[in-house]
Amino acid sequence: MTALVWADSENPDSPAVQSPATPRPGRAQRRRPPVGRALLLLVFAAYFFIPLYAAVDFTLGGSRRNMGHTLSVWTGLVHQEGFTTNLMTSLKIAGGTVLLLLVLMVPTMAWLHLRLPHLRRVVEGVCLLPMAIPAVVIANGIIGAFKSWPQAITGSSWILILEYVILALPFTYRSLDAGLSAIPLTTMVEAARSLGASWPVTLWRVVVPNIRTAIASAGILGAALALGEFTIANLLLLNTFPVWTDQAGQQDGEVATTASMLILFLSWLLLMLVSHLGRGRTAKKSLKLRRSK
């Protein structure tokens, strides 16, 4: 565009400049009026907001006749049988999932980038496999595969932690891969090693701090997944917060909806954190670019 303007001022009679310039006013007229776009956005906004509004209204007792809105369902939630224990179970599972996920994947991904970069496609393919095998099928397979395993693992939160790590692999790979691709990993590690740092020290004090945003997003997404997962927990007959919510829903819709909103707000808070982290990183990057120019 700047080139065209420049040519224009220097050689105003050039037909070559005139012809590409002519369609522009016509295009501006043909462009959809902003009213249509605003209407479209409004319809989408209604579709996405009305259910949330309705759900909040429902949890405040809006569906009961002749009664004002009240917070009683929310405040009464703590006294519901099984609420606290199951919420704690789910929080523990989320913590365990994040810890195991990062302990397994951060060293693996760093090693992959350092020593086996040509195998990245293979590992990516393996990490995407959980997308190709539905959770229902995994649940079915767990029963068949781990029949002989001790009940302490297969009949407890442990099996859920172990399997949620698998379910988290696709986005964990993407997040850590992006983080490691963005730093001069080889140089950093060679520098650390030549200064006498051992492998664990290099990993912990050089690699981890430099990809902490990527690690944080992977961890947060893993926590959100573990907090909301229902399929495997329900089919393995294990009690977690979402399973409790479903059972509550068979007796009291208001309690179940309130518990659902709690899961939602918790995981949204976590996911907002991820998008905030991501924005902070791109903002920094664009700042750097602008400076270098």
């Binding site: 369609p23 020593r115 496999l129 190709a132 539905p134 229902v136 099928v137 068949g144 399929t231 909103m261």
Partner: protein, 323 residues
């Protein structure tokens, strides 16, 4: 979205060693092949592979073993003898019906989600990149795309269920939803609910591709005399086609594998394949058909697996021009 270098080298040529690059006239004989193999051998040391052992072992045990268990059990009868009867039984009713309903729901919600998502993405991409609308839609879709499962079912029950807010609004306006054949757990209802996570997922997948279409390409085409229609037909359309198709496949797989939402909406009564598997697991199965659930699982892996593989390939094609 970084394409690693080796993938761009044609298969069979091997790694371009510095020697080969320096003398392009060297005939590509067996020597070149040996050089290539040597180069590769130097890069993959067995000791290095050991670093991947924990990861490989973990995936093998906690994903490989369950998948293997499902696939082998699909070909066994209750006594453990080899049989094809499970696999063939699952192709007949009532399971055939479940597959039809599942596929219908997945196709409908994927196509509608992809088209509506693309429309929304185009409407938003016209807005300023750092403006409120663009930022709000990107953040919201990042959050809503992961919002499937159980909570979604209860949110929609509070909206369009028998006691739902919108149901009541419509009732007071003289329109009874149930009389007009709408319930949340029939096809129309499920599609409406599934779109709540399908549209945001479409936005997440298609935004990078849409943002990656550089305005310079359109300017170049138009300065060469192409009309706007010609640009979309010959340049923009073909560039967007692979990511759009890929997104369509991802949405299909996403809907096909979903269990929790439909389960909670209908308390397990909708005839969908995942719900049938769950119901078999809970013991609702005839004697002699204990492995029906595994056979259904096998078919699910086949369908979703093929779709995901196709999606990954299309995604890699897009990654070539998307920077």
């Amino acid at each position: 979205m970084t394409a690693s270098a080796p993938a761009d080298v044609p298969a069979g040529v091997g790694e371009p060693t510095p020697a080969a690059a320096a003398s392009p006239l060297r005939p590509a004989g067996p020597r070149a092949g040996r050089l290539g193999r040597l180069g590769r051998a130097r890069r993959t040391r067995p000791a290095d592979l050991l670093g991947l052992a924990p990861f490989a072992a973990y995936v093998a045990v906690f994903l490989g073993a369950p998948a293997y268990a499902v696939i082998t059990a699909a070909f066994k009868d209750d006594a453990g003898h080899a049989t094809l009867s499970n696999v063939t039984t699952t192709l007949k009713d009532p399971y055939r019906h479940a597959f039809t309903v599942s596929i219908e729901l997945s196709v409908l919600s994927a196509v509608l989600g992809a088209v509506l998502g693309l429309a929304l993405a185009i409407a938003v991409s016209g807005a300023r990149r750092d403006g409120f609308v663009h930022r709000a839609v990107t953040t919201a879709s990042g959050v809503l795309a992961y919002f499937g499962g159980l909570p979604l079912a209860f949110v929609f029950l509070a909206t369009l269920g028998p006691q739902g807010l919108v149901t009541k609004w419509l009732n007071s306006a003289g329109y009874n939803l149930t009389q007009h054949g709408f319930v949340l757990w029939n096809m129309a209802g499920l599609v409406l609910v599934y779109l709540y996570f399908q549209i945001p997922l479409m936005l997440l997948v298609i935004f990078p591709a849409l943002d990656g279409l550089r305005p310079q390409w359109e300017e170049a085409a138009r300065s060469l005399g192409a009309s706007r229609r010609q640009y979309w037909l010959r340049v923009g359309g073909p560039l967007l086609a692979p990511p759009f198709l890929g997104a369509l496949l991802l949405l299909f797989a996403n809907a096909f594998a979903a269990y929790a939402t439909a389960y909670a909406l209908s308390t397990g009564s909708v005839p969908l394949v995942p719900i049938q598997i769950g119901s078999v697991m809970s013991g609702n199965v005839l004697a002699g058909q204990e492995n029906i659930g595994n056979a259904l699982g096998l078919w699910m892996i086949v369908v979703v697996g093929l779709v995901v593989v196709a999606y990954t390939l299309l995604q890699r094609r897009t990654a070539r021009w998307l920077r």
